[in-house]
């Protein structure tokens, strides 16, 4: 069984502060980490690998620095890694990355399962799963918390309203994993060393994927940044509990809240 996990990278939120007052983001330490939700996805894939015979392949598209994210994923337990990068891929947007990843996955060959983090922590981008399912023409299950395989059948527990639903999925399929679905494992010390010193990340450029700069032209364009206004403290009501309650009800009525 072959499982493919796309990996994205975000700026480490511990390394910057957002100042709405100055309308600026102050980057104190520019460090990139694997998108935490993608680690949840990788954990789902690795737990399937632990439970049986599976090969887990990680793939990433965009900037060259994704190399570090892929090596970390290998240190966590992935068997092989593919990096899709060049100047064009580094500048494309989420849709372009999704198309490149779809091409990359096709180029890797047959797969049984794709496991994707539902969204990114930085821009709450939740497009990758649906894009890939569409490009590759496979069934998609969202909000996944757990997956297991027995007798060749994939059983998935997914979010369902306030509870969960258990569904069976025909392979090949794509799962988008809910953020916080599990506690991802730590990378292994010895595998960290091997990931940088012994193992290779296979790198393909846009030409290898049969994509041109026009194919990868961003569909979106950043126009500017806006910051939500700073929250201001509400009005403090004082007096006896009866007076405060009466005043509160009156104020809520005045604002047509009740």
């Amino acid at each position: 069984m072959r499982i493919i996990v796309p990996i994205r990278q975000i700026l480490d939120p511990r390394g910057f502060t957002v100042s709405p007052r100055h309308e600026r983001i102050f980057i104190n330490r520019e460090e990139y980490i694997i998108n935490p939700n993608d680690k949840n996805a990788l954990e789902v894939a690795l737990s399937l690998k632990d439970a049986g015979e599976a090969e887990v392949i990680v793939i990433a598209g965009g900037q060259a620095r994704l190399d570090d994210a892929l090596r970390e994923a290998m240190a966590m337990g992935a068997d092989a890694a593919y990096l899709l990068t060049d100047e064009v891929l580094a500048k494309t947007d989420a849709a372009g990355v999704a198309e490149a990843l779809a091409r990359g996955i096709e180029k890797i060959g047959d797969f049984d399962l794709i496991v994707v983090g539902q969204e990114t922590l930085d821009t709450a981008d939740a497009q990758l799963g649906p894009w890939l399912a569409e490009y590759l023409g496979v069934a998609q299950v969202g909000g996944v918390r757990q997956a297991s395989i027995s007798d060749g059948v994939l059983r998935v527990r997914r979010n369902w309203g306030a509870g969960y639903a258990e569904v069976e999925v025909a392979l090949p399929a794509l799962l988008t994993v809910a953020s916080g679905a599990n506690k991802p494992r730590y990378p292994h010390g010895g595998r960290i060393m091997a990931a940088y010193r012994e193992w290779q990340v296979i790198t393909w450029n846009s030409e290898d994927l049969g994509l041109t700069a026009a194919d990868l032209a961003p569909l979106t364009q950043g126009r500017g940044r806006a910051f939500p206004p700073e929250r201001t403290l509400g009005e403090r009501l004082t007096g006896s509990p009866q007076d405060v309650a009466a005043e509160l009800v009156q104020q809520l009525r005045l604002r047509r809240i009740i």
Binding site: A75, P187, G189, G190, I192, M193
Partner: protein
């Protein structure tokens, strides 16, 4: 000259830091209060390859060398000195002796389960009458057919009561003394005649155990002689040299954590209407701490580099040990002063750090011994003979 850490070490540090924050810190206060070894942490650390960080992957280690091992010790030292001590005595001296001088068979049989964390190691040199004067040990080993029979006792042995495999130094020829008359042995806890004596009730590092070991006609197979027969003193000294650098790395972590904790506290603690962080006395204390810490960091990782590249490092390792332990004590003491009354409270980690730090100036060679090592190496380097 390139002072940047390669990327594998950066990722390794990030992993260890998260492990320390999430798995080790929550237990630090508890294991100190309950005076018990954090076995649950050891089990988790083993799964991540953290019980054999410096050893090659073929022996079940992480292959991260002394540099990687110092990173582990630094990050553990930031959150729990006890955990650093348990893993340090296991890896840095107990298993290290087997790695440095063991035969392939011994490495296969003993180093592998130690590096994978399946088994725990200890290193037994100190005796009641032989501390700094290590050559004065009295534990005897006498040949009896295919065995050596050990008699004597060791004291202050970190991990002594929890270890499965113990490297022990014993006298094999009293007439030869330290040079040729002392041999190292690998002892399994199940060997007949081996038992645990009293456990120490310590001031600090209370989440680690310190035991007396008793050998009463303890029979050790002759293939468990570690290193060359009669050269046990050399094996043990080599091991201690390497252990000193990583011990200093744990001190580095302790000092750094104390400084950062004091800074956070100073930023929120107000007196005379302003945060005490605005006071020049606090600035000076922090600047002094930061400068010493930075000097220590350079010394520790340069020494780790010397070890990893197979260069002479005895003097530098001793400098690490004496400077590291004293910087940690000074920084934690200064931090405690910034914390004021809060720092003296059992409720707060500074008090524990203060108690934990003191041992680093004593164990694995006192500060006095380190100074002797440094000075005698310097005289030798300069070609000056000072003994008749």
């Amino acid at each position: 000259m390139d002072f940047t850490f390669p990327k594998e070490y950066e990722l390794f540090r990030r992993m260890v830091r998260e492990f320390a924050e999430n798995e080790v810190r929550p237990l630090a206060k508890k294991v100190d209060a309950e005076h018990r070894v954090p076995f649950e942490t050891i089990k988790k650390a083993a799964k991540l390859g953290l019980m054999g960080v410096p050893f090659p992957r073929k022996y079940g280690g992480s292959g991260a060398g002394e540099t990687g091992y110092c990173i582990l010790m630094e990050e553990l030292g930031k959150v729990c000195t006890s955990t650093a001590t348990v893993i340090g005595a296991h890896t840095g001296i107990g298993a290290m002796a087997i790695y440095l001088d063991g035969t392939e068979e011994q490495k296969e049989k003993y180093l592998k389960p130690l590096a994978s964390g399946e088994k725990i190691a200890a290193f037994a040199l100190t005796e009641a009458q032989a501390g700094s004067d290590a050559a004065a040990i009295k534990t005897r080993a006498v040949r009896d057919g295919d065995y050596y029979v050990l008699n004597g006792s060791k004291c202050f042995i970190t991990n002594g009561d929890i270890a499965d495999i113990i490297t022990v130094m014993a006298v094999t020829d009293p007439s030869l003394g330290a040079r040729g008359g002392v041999t190292a042995f690998i002892v399994e806890k199940g060997f007949p005649g081996f038992s645990i004596g009293t456990l120490e009730n310590k001031m600090g590092i209370r989440g680690s155990s310190t035991a007396e070991l008793i050998f009463e006609d303890c029979r050790v197979p002759k293939e468990n002689v570690l290193g060359q027969f009669g050269a046990g003193f050399i094996t043990f000294m080599k091991t201690l040299d390497i252990g000193r650098a990583s011990l200093a790395a744990a001190c580095l972590g302790g000092a750094q954590a104390a400084m950062e904790g004091a800074m956070r506290w100073a930023a929120v603690r107000s007196q005379f209407g302003v945060p005490i962080a605005q006071k020049q006395s606090v600035h000076f204390a922090i600047a002094d701490m930061a400068t010493e810490i930075e000097a220590l960091r350079s010394l520790v990782y340069r020494t780790a580099w010397l070890i990893d590249t197979g260069q002479p490092h005895v003097k530098e390792a001793a400098m690490c040990k004496v400077y590291g332990s004293e910087v940690a004590s000074r920084c934690i003491n200064r931090a405690l002063q910034i914390f004021g009354g809060m720092g003296y409270s059992r409720e707060f980690w500074v008090e524990r750090a203060f108690r934990d730090a003191r041992i680093a100036e004593i164990f694995e060679g006192t500060s006095e011994i380190q100074r002797i090592v440094i000075a005698s190496n310097l005289f030798r380097e300069m070609g000056l003979r000072i003994s008749p």
